[in-house]
Structures are given as C-alpha cells and as structure tokens.
C-alpha cells in the first residue's frame, strides 16, 4: 500500500507540478491539485504504464482522488 502511494505520488508531483505535501488520499485531482480534464486522462495513462495495467474509460471516470487511484491499483494487483 505504502509503495503504491509513493509511486502514485511521484507521478502526480511530476505531472501536475504540485508539492508532495499537498498530496493525501483525499486530495481531488481537479479541485485540490489543479488538474484539468486532460491532465487527469494523462495521469491515468501514466498510472497504466507505471503499474502495467489497463484502466478502462468507465473505471477511469471514477478515479477522482489520490485515494481512488491507490485503491483501484491495489484492487487489481
């Protein structure tokens, strides 16, 4: 769990240019981390690459917070 969060955090920091301290499980990509719709799509694409999985569009739509991403990845691994 910690490892997944760490890797997800790194991707978000790189992609969105936010501080690591802004990131917690409840943080919303759009509202809290300043991502636009395309940013979220790109984040999901990078998560797919990082964790070697495919995230369907339907599933991706439900990933709106850092916690959603971590939970989803853990449920698939």
């Amino acid at each position: 769990m910690a490892d997944v969060l760490e890797r997800v955090t790194k991707i978000i920091v790189d992609r969105l240019g936010v501080e690591e301290s802004q990131i917690n499980l409840d943080a919303k990509f759009k509202e809290d981390l300043g991502a636009d719709s395309l940013d979220v799509v790109e984040l999901v694409m990078e998560l797919e690459d990082e964790f070697d999985m495919e995230i369907s569009d339907d599933d991706a739509e439900n990933i709106t917070t850092v916690g959603d991403a971590v939970t989803y990845i853990n449920s698939k691994n």
Binding site: L38, V41, E42, M45
Partner: protein, 247 residues
C-alpha cells in the same frame, strides 16, 4: 528532407489522394504505414515503392468505421514504428444520390466511414501523441463540405463534419503539442472523379477559377507542408486546395 525520422499512418493510401500523400511523406523522409480497405495489391505496391526509397513501410487492412479494427491498426503501427508523428485521415467513400432518393443505408455508410472513421482514428492515435507531446493530424475534407453539392448530401455533411471535428480536436489537443488541420480538396483527377460523365466534368471545370482539375500531387504538397516543421504554428485551419472554388 524535413520529415526524416518521422513516422506516418495514412488511411486509404492504396490509391488516389491517399497514395500521393503516402509517397510524398516518404519522399520527404517519413516511414509510412499504408492503410487500405479492399485493394490489397495496390496497397502492397505503394508500400514497395516507399521501401524502394529507403523508408520503412507496411500495409495494414482496416475498415476505419470499425472501432476495434482501428485500435488494432494503430497498435500495429506503434509496434512497428514505436511512435506515430503524423496521421492522415484520408480514407473516404461516396454513395451519391439525390436527397429525396437517398437510402438510409447510403447516408449511414458515408457518415460511418467519412466522419466517424476520422473520429475513431483520431481518438486511437491521441493517446500515443499525447505521450509524445507532439503530433500532426491532417484530415482530408472537401470543397463540398464548405460550399455544398447537389446529389451529395451525405458526403457533404460528412466532410463539413470533418471540419468541425478538426477544429474541436485542434482546441482539445493544442496544449499537448498536437496540431490538427484539414485540407479541403476541390475537384481532383482520381478514380472517383474519372467516373463522372464528360458533360458533368465540363460543367465542373466551369466552376473552377483556375480552370482545370487538380492533381493528387497538389493535395500531397499541402499535406507535406502541414506535416513539416514549417507548419508548427498552424492548427485548426482548413486549407482549400481547389483552384479557387471556395473563397
């Protein structure tokens, strides 16, 4: 050769305008995936011609109105070339008929290939181009999409739709370094226009300020320009290559 090291996917590249574009991109240095729907031998000939220029090329069969087939075509292109720098949405069909006689099927087939096909191919390459943070998408519309044409309600609607799709995708993808432009050819000498009766052809030529049909190379030159570095700052535009028919 300003396209050296670039890779391209051209739909409907076995003949006509698509073939001319594929060959021109290759001449300028690009590797080219040659898509075709039915003319396998002609597509293979185009690929051979490209390989003879020292570029990589392969043929890929795909009905572009079929979402899954489009996805596997794009996958195949990425696995062969590692990236897609240029997508040329050229493939198209006609099912001409007078509006009052036009069958639903004639309408649907043209919209499915000429408009939905452009959407599907664009959607399928977007992921790769977003990762690359660069890409050029060139949509082949038509002068009739700008000024209309009797007997081609389906084709005209699809080609006008392509212009709207070009502008929407240009806006959406601009922040990722991807440009999307359309070329609107006028009446170009191809198999499609050769089928027209002589009388209709003469009448057409009368509507062209420059007084002659265009050649496929005229369209290929515009596509090569849009694919090259010189068009870096151009997106969401429709370039008419039509002898002045639409101004």
């Amino acid at each position: 050769m300003n396209l050296e090291g670039k890779t391209a996917l051209v739909t409907g590249a076995s003949r006509g305008i698509g073939k001319a574009i594929a060959l021109e991109l290759a001449r300028l240095g690009a590797d080219v995936a040659v898509n075709y729907a039915g003319s396998e031998q002609k597509a293979a000939d185009v690929a051979e011609e490209i390989k003879a220029m020292g570029r990589r090329s392969f043929i890929v069969q795909c009905d572009i109105s079929d979402s899954e087939a489009v996805q596997s075509m794009v996958k195949e292109t990425i696995s062969q070339f590692d990236r897609i720098d240029i997508l040329v949405n050229n493939a198209g069909i006609t099912r001409d008929n007078l509006l009052m006689r036009m069958k639903d099927q004639e309408w649907d087939e043209v919209i499915d290939t000429n408009l939905k096909g452009v959407f599907l191919c664009t959607k399928a390459v977007t992921r790769q181009m977003m990762k690359q943070r660069s890409g050029r998408i060139i949509n082949i519309s038509s002068v009739v999409g700008r000024i209309g044409n009797a007997g081609q309600a389906n084709y005209t609607a699809a080609k006008a739709g392509v212009i709207g799709l070009t502008k929407a995708s240009a806006r959406e993808l601009a922040p990722r370094g991807i440009t999307v432009n359309a070329i609107a050819p006028g009446f170009i000498s191809t198999d499609m226009t050769d089928e027209l009766p002589q009388e209709a052809k003469e009448q057409l030529i009368g509507q062209i300020p420059l007084g002659t049909l265009g050649d496929v190379e005229d369209i290929a030159a515009a596509a090569a320009f849009l694919a090259g570095d010189g068009a870096r700052y151009i997106t969401g535009q429709v370039i008419g290559v039509d002898g002045g028919m639409a101004m």
